[in-house]
Symmetry: C2
Subunit: 202 residues, 2 copies
DNA sequence: AAATGGTTAAACTAAATGATTAAACCATCT
DNA sequence: AGATGGTTTAATCATTTAGTTTAACCATTT
């Protein structure tokens, strides 16, 4: 019984993720999700009551995955440069595994910006910690006196944007060649940290 | 007569832009556009035949505005660093004036990536020119030997991302304070070019 | 002022879609 | 075998929505 339930529920979640990621909330159709899962449309409502609820499950999960937890890394006893290298490598690796994550989250976040604040609360992330961590490095004189805000924005932008804007950048940068663009993304793991470190070193 | 037509047509375009920018193609409703324009829904179809056609008009315009034309700037007889400063300042200024442009274009580009290639043709932009321009600077030894692809991606990412991800970044960076975030965006005009130049100088 | 032709609106249509209901199904227990 | 209770489906509902039709409107021309 239980295995039955988790199986179907899981099946639905995977199908819903696929469809929502591709079409967004407004473009997704319950029928299409049902087809994708190979089940009857009424089952979706049986398990999740409404499109909203089903979407919420998918979105919360995606949001959690998209917002990186950097706290452990920040406290580690290594140089700031090394911290950046590790973060960038890990985060871009994750994005390579879930390439539609940025465009999905950004689209939905823009569609409904109000509910985002409470989302941060739910996943227990305190943004200020990261900024303070960077400020400490400035105070210690390890990096040049740039506003932590700007540094953090730069790191995230450089990691995420190539995924969020892939359809455009793939044309502009690699003649719309998917394989070439994948190479470009691989190279960014080293390139982004080199770039960041270069720009903030004393 | 003519002024009548262009007036109504313009009215529709402005209303459509407002609604499409906020809700996206799938979330937008013809009725809402009509309300926004203060006219009857049938008039939308009278002037634009279909939702698709109306959207196409809005999207083409937005796309054109979003893709910067850098050719003149690239050929100007000034240092590469100065070119970057000018581009970044102009582009971020434009984005400050049309802040929803990035999220709208990126959302729609991801929803329908296939049609983008021909869009570039229509607006007469040859992406390779920009990359070649950067390569020339590398060859001349003006900047360090970084792949032009990476440099261009970095410049665009740093300019666009703070607008595309504003609802998230505003919480993380400026405690969800709109005025503070606007200051942050202003500061980026200087910050981004400083950042780029620092990272590619020999 | 009557006719003409473009413009606007009200009413309507057909299809799609999220949601509900009621019945069928199926495994487990007695 | 029959009852029980959760699971799945087919059929249906109510609403929304893009698009159409028909008539009213209005300025210009004759």
């Amino acid at each position: 019984m239980i295995s039955q339930e988790t199986d179907t529920e899981q099946l639905i979640l995977e199908a819903a993720k696929k469809v929502f990621f591709k079409k967004g909330y407004d473009g997704a159709r319950m029928q299409e999700i049902a087809n994708e899962a190979g089940i009857n449309k009424a089952l979706l409502h049986y398990y999740f009551r409404s499109k909203d609820k089903l979407f919420e499950a998918i979105f919360f999960n995606a949001f959690q995955q998209f917002i990186p937890s950097v706290v452990e890394n920040l406290n580690a006893d290594i140089s700031f440069e090394r911290k950046i290298e590790i973060f960038v490598e890990n985060y871009i690796n994750m994005l390579i595994n879930f390439p539609q994550l940025p465009s999905f989250v950004l689209t939905e976040v823009n569609r409904n910006p109000e509910r985002i604040a409470e989302m941060f609360g739910k996943i227990g992330i305190i943004p200020s910690v990261i900024l303070q961590g960077i400020q400490k490095e400035v105070d210690k004189g390890n990096i040049s006196a740039v506003e932590p805000k700007q540094i953090l924005a730069n790191i995230v932008a450089l990691c995420v944007f190539p995924f969020a804007a892939r359809p455009l950048l793939q044309i502009v940068l690699t003649e719309n060649d998917t394989a070439k663009y994948n190479v470009f993304l691989e190279e960014r793991k080293k390139e982004v940290s080199r770039f960041i470190i270069n720009s903030i070193k004393i």
